[in-house]
Symmetry: C2
Subunit: 293 residues, 2 copies
């Protein structure tokens, strides 16, 4: 069994981006600039956004944090988005989800200029990605693809089983893995809450991508020997032995499944750091396009 | 075994559209107007386009055929598309594929205004469809969904195996069948030229959608009892006993597979007529939006 080390791989990718930023600035360009919009005071959201901002600083990007009250109206939020869309100093921005009930996530996603949509949530980016055109690929799937690529995981003709059909992970992941490229060319099955015989399907997987948000859902007896496991799950589980009061648990029972897997991502230290690195990569792409449209 | 009768179902759908056109005109609206662009003299393309124009007439639509020489330059074709984009008398239009070598299909697809893209080939429509938003769904997948719906085929939790990952059939079909709606909620596997153990995968299908363009590819011994089979294939095979010199053959060996299937589409008379009816339905949607944007 070998660990698919997201922390190490993410660091390698970030070092590459940092090198590119140096060269980018030497050519007289201002550094890439990522903005993050954070509405309200959700603890996990604050943690994620802070990690993204910190990652920007480390690679030499500029960054902005737009903090808004959780009582903000939809119209006001859309106005903030419009300002970012039209601000030539911003190469890309994200609106951290989830949003308060009074705001339609769909409306927000549609309001982001696809050319600054470094989260890749706009339908135009999803459609372009599906058709193999230049597009911002959502950060989590993009990070997973990067990880598989850097570990030279064989994907062509493999049976890739994706658990979960969310618009930001499962669905784009299933499309990416079936595209005619590497990583890709896998035979892809997408499973979800309606799937029957789920265990049989999981057992047939050569590559398993778990994104259901159910801690320790995939057990050792459910996978086959030699499977490649990517665990997207990241659930906070109460743990009074930790200073924070919780620990992060994936969708995969690591101790059991790692005994049979050829490769496996840990939680934390797997998909999470790759997601942030992929967001930086998307922002770098946005900045390159600013210079060479 | 029951036939999924595309001819009959298409006629029912077209009758409904014809009724709607009458009411639409009674409200003082001009009828829906579909334009078709045909480049060159490909025999199959001429047949398809003529069938679409005839179908328009039957339901009371206006229609236009724009015939262009196969020596047309890309710039000239894009100019024609632009005229259609900006013509308020046109509710939707299609550019019949394939196109001559000097023209990039991708550039053509991207040039069509997504709001008039009744073929649903523009990435914006594909992305919107994947995200469950209002969108023009490509006509063949839309027609298949309509057919499954009208025969009340159970899809939730079923294993749907899609053979082929083309951008206009296999890929959108796989997305549609996995969406959280009816028809949909299937566990979907998308297979293609790189798939290993293809026969095992086909044998595990509760619903099989074959879109590979290989005549009689799926044989009786490859499917399980009670499977629902949708045959998208339509290959011209030389047949000197026919006046035309050819006959149309599907991807599925009908005589063998129909003995085991619960439901099966014939070729011709299955998916083909549904595709045309779905194109009319998309055009009707376009016309409704013209009146109520």
């Amino acid at each position: 069994m070998r660990i698919l080390d997201g922390k190490e791989t993410s660091q390698a990718l970030r070092n590459e981006i940092a090198d590119e930023v140096v060269k980018f600035k030497e050519k007289g360009n201002r550094p890439p600039h990522l903005a993050a919009v954070l509405v309200g005071n959700n603890g996990a959201s604050i943690t994620y956004v802070n990690a993204k901002i910190k990652a920007c600083e480390e690679v030499g990007f500029s960054s902005s944090l737009v903090r808004l009250s959780d009582t903000i109206s939809q119209a006001e939020l859309l106005h903030e988005i419009d300002k970012l869309n039209n601000d030539p100093a911003i190469d890309g921005f994200i609106v951290q989800l989830p949003l308060p009930d009074q705001i339609s996530e769909k409306k927000v996603i549609m309001a982001v200029n696809p050319k600054k949509d470094v989260d890749g949530f706009h339908p135009q980016n999803l459609g372009r990605m599906a058709l193999n055109m230049h597009a911002f690929v959502p950060a989590t799937p993009a990070g997973i693809i990067e990880l598989l690529d850097r570990y030279n995981i064989e994907t062509g003709g493999k049976h890739c089983v994706v658990l979960g059909r969310s618009h930001i992970v499962g669905l784009p992941m299933s499309i990416l893995m079936s595209r005619n490229t590497y990583p890709g060319n896998a035979t892809v099955t997408i499973c979800h809450s309606h799937t029957r015989n789920l265990e049989d399907m999981i057992r047939s997987a050569d590559i398993l991508i778990a994104a259901v948000g159910r801690p320790n859902f995939v057990r050792g007896n459910m996978v086959k020997e030699g499977v490649v496991v990517v665990d997207v799950g990241i659930t906070r589980v109460v743990d009074t032995t930790k200073k924070s009061g919780y620990r992060l648990v994936g969708d995969v029972h690591f101790d059991e499944v790692s005994k049979k897997a050829a490769f496996i991502t840990p939680v934390p230290g797997g998909v999470g750091p790759m997601t942030i690195a992929a967001l930086l990569k998307n922002t770098m792409i946005g900045a390159r396009r600013r210079v060479k449209p």
